[in-house]
């Protein structure tokens, strides 16, 4: 009897709310809520740390304009207008130069022997050193941030592209030799598909490292730009402004990734498998793994 009732009972079903909470999106949303609560607790414990609402209020005022504490506001766009072109020029240059150097290192063994040790030293050089040096060379202005981005991001692009070139299977190369495949077709159908993934990892690197570099260089050697603005609040010991700008820096890099890099990457890889939500989650992690596995960030 008892067995029969158990069998007759409808199968266990979670309520819609429970299902929503345990779904992928529910989990992500919960993590944000937990993060904000943790931040609030930290702000209550450490006096110097501003709380989330305070910081949000600061960001809103910084973006929307108005006056606070005698500092003129509403220059948000002006500062981004100064920083973004520097970042873009530096990023483009380092991507192009890094790709060329990476192809040379990956395909010519003599160049590899020539450059690999030197590249290691350049990979290990902290961006702050380039910021200090370029400020000494060019003074305060737009040059120091641009050159800091180029000098610190190029080695990372080069390393990734070189890895990609070396990952092309030598058998396919030999087969192309045997069947007399012309050079440009080999480049298009053999090298390009193999290297694209590495190119994107290199680009991601360049973005993360370049953004850090432009901020550092502006902090120490500029008279405008977002890095300079963050320093302004730091020097004034207004931690709300300081943390507010740190949040803006993080949001910027997330937006860049979500709105620019990921769509391009998806388009470039549309020949692989269809991208579902699940794959997307794996994708971010795979990128991080690639970053972790590149020698010497």
């Amino acid at each position: 009897m008892s067995v029969a009732t158990r069998l007759n009972r409808p199968p266990f079903k979670r309520s819609p709310v429970g299902r929503a909470l345990t779904s992928q999106w529910g989990a992500r949303l919960t993590s944000y809520v937990v993060f904000i609560i943790g931040w609030q607790l930290l702000a209550m414990l450490v006096e110097r740390v501003p709380g989330p609402w305070e910081t949000l209020d600061f960001i809103w005022r910084e973006v929307s304009g108005g006056d606070l504490g005698g500092v003129r506001r509403g220059q948000f766009l002006e500062h981004f207008g100064a920083t973004v072109p520097r970042f873009a020029i530096g990023l483009t240059t380092s991507f192009v130069v890094g790709t060329v150097v990476g192809i040379a290192i990956g395909s010519v063994s003599f160049v590899r022997a020539l450059l690999s040790d030197v590249l290691l030293v350049f990979l290990a050089l902290p961006a702050i050193i380039w910021a200090f040096l370029t400020v000494m060379w060019y003074g305060l202005g737009w040059e120091a941030p641009v050159y800091t981005v180029i000098l610190s991001a190029t080695p990372f692009v080069a390393v990734n592209v070189a890895q990609g070139v070396r990952a092309v299977s030598p058998e396919l190369h030999r087969m192309s030799d045997a069947f007399g495949v012309p050079r440009n077709r080999r480049l298009r159908s053999l090298m390009l598909p193999a290297v694209t993934g590495y190119l994107f990892t290199g680009l991601r690197f360049a973005v993360i490292i370049g953004w850090n570099a432009v901020l550092l260089a502006e902090w120490f050697g500029a008279t405008d730009g977002v890095g300079w603005r963050a320093r302004l609040w730091y020097d004034a010991a207004r931690y709300r402004g300081f943390i507010g700008w740190a949040i803006i820096f993080i949001v910027f890099i997330f937006l860049l990734d979500g709105l620019v890099l990921s769509p391009i990457q998806k388009r470039a890889f549309r020949w692989r498998k269809s991208a579902s939500d699940e794959v997307d989650l794996e994708h971010g992690l795979a990128d991080m793994e690639a970053i972790a596995k590149t020698p010497f960030l």
């Binding site: 993590s31 063994s109 050193i129 040096l133 000494m136 992690l285 020698p295």
Partner: protein, 269 residues
């Protein structure tokens, strides 16, 4: 006879390749130092970019002054303290991520986000929370290396032999026993690899935090030299910093191979 001849030919060819490689490395260093000397004396000036000799002199002065080891030891101790914190927090996170889809989704944004935040933000956060002192750089190192360790541990868990787990269950082993004898031994190598891989990033952020706010350590010395407009000293400290970075990374790799030599069968490639 013919075999011996081909063998000899192969070894000669190999020796030739090795010679070419070695000459490339020597040439590479030579070109690097030469280009550096050329840039400093012709393109720029000795003041804005001191040449190799001048930097060598500065290194010599720092080394003979004797207190450089203290600064390096302090920076290294901060870095490894940060690693300890990162392992303590990152391993459980990675454990959860590797075992349950819910936690993977939960931590995904945090881990990927924490890995792509610029180092300057960590330096700033550490300063605001702890002010100038010992704990700031420790926190910065902990924050930046934690996601890498968590990811590595999660990856390690996915590679755990599930048959072993099923078997231990079938033979009535407790959860704790399978944790102690199956899960932890398979995770540890990955946690260690996470530490080694994130060492270079962590070391740089540690120095950066010291540049912003510290009263000792390598980063502080770099900042001090910069404020005194002494570029040779900036470069001297930096080169010593890089040399130590490469050395410690190698040492960690050797230690890793020694500690986890029992799993060499997995690292055939």
């Amino acid at each position: 006879m013919a075999e011996a001849a081909t063998l000899e030919g192969t070894s000669r060819r190999l020796a030739g390749a090795r010679l070419r490689r070695a000459s490339g490395v020597v040439l590479g260093w030579g070109a690097f130092v030469g280009l550096w000397a050329f840039t400093s004396s012709v393109i720029l000036t000795e003041f804005t970019l001191p040449g190799p000799l001048k930097v060598w002199d500065a290194i010599w002065v720092i080394v003979t002054a004797g207190s450089w080891a203290d600064d390096f030891l302090i920076s290294i101790s901060k870095t490894f303290m940060g690693f300890a914190i990162a392992v303590l927090i990152g391993t459980p996170i990675g454990y959860l991520m590797g075992r349950a889809g819910y936690w993977k989704a939960f931590f995904h944004d945090g881990v990927v986000g924490a890995g792509s935040v610029p180092g300057i933000v960590y330096a700033m956060m550490a300063l605001v929370i702890f002010g100038i002192g010992y704990l700031g750089p420790v926190l910065a190192v902990g924050l930046i290396s934690m996601p890498f360790i968590a990811l590595n541990v999660a990856e390690g868990l996915e590679g755990v032999d599930t048959d072993l787990l099923k078997m231990s269950k079938a033979f009535g082993r407790s959860e704790r026993q399978s944790l102690r004898h199956i899960l932890i031994p398979s995770i540890l190598p990955f946690a260690f690899a996470g530490v080694r891989l994130s060492f270079a990033i962590a070391w740089k952020v540690e120095a950066l935090t010291e540049v912003f706010g510290s009263s000792n350590g390598v980063g502080f010395q770099i900042r001090f030299a910069f404020q005194g407009f002494s570029i040779p000293r900036v470069l001297a400290w930096t080169l010593m910093f890089i040399a130590l970075l490469l050395l410690i990374e190698r040492a960690l790799a050797v230690l890793e191979r020694w500690l986890f030599r029992w799993r060499t069968w997995e690292q055939e490639e």
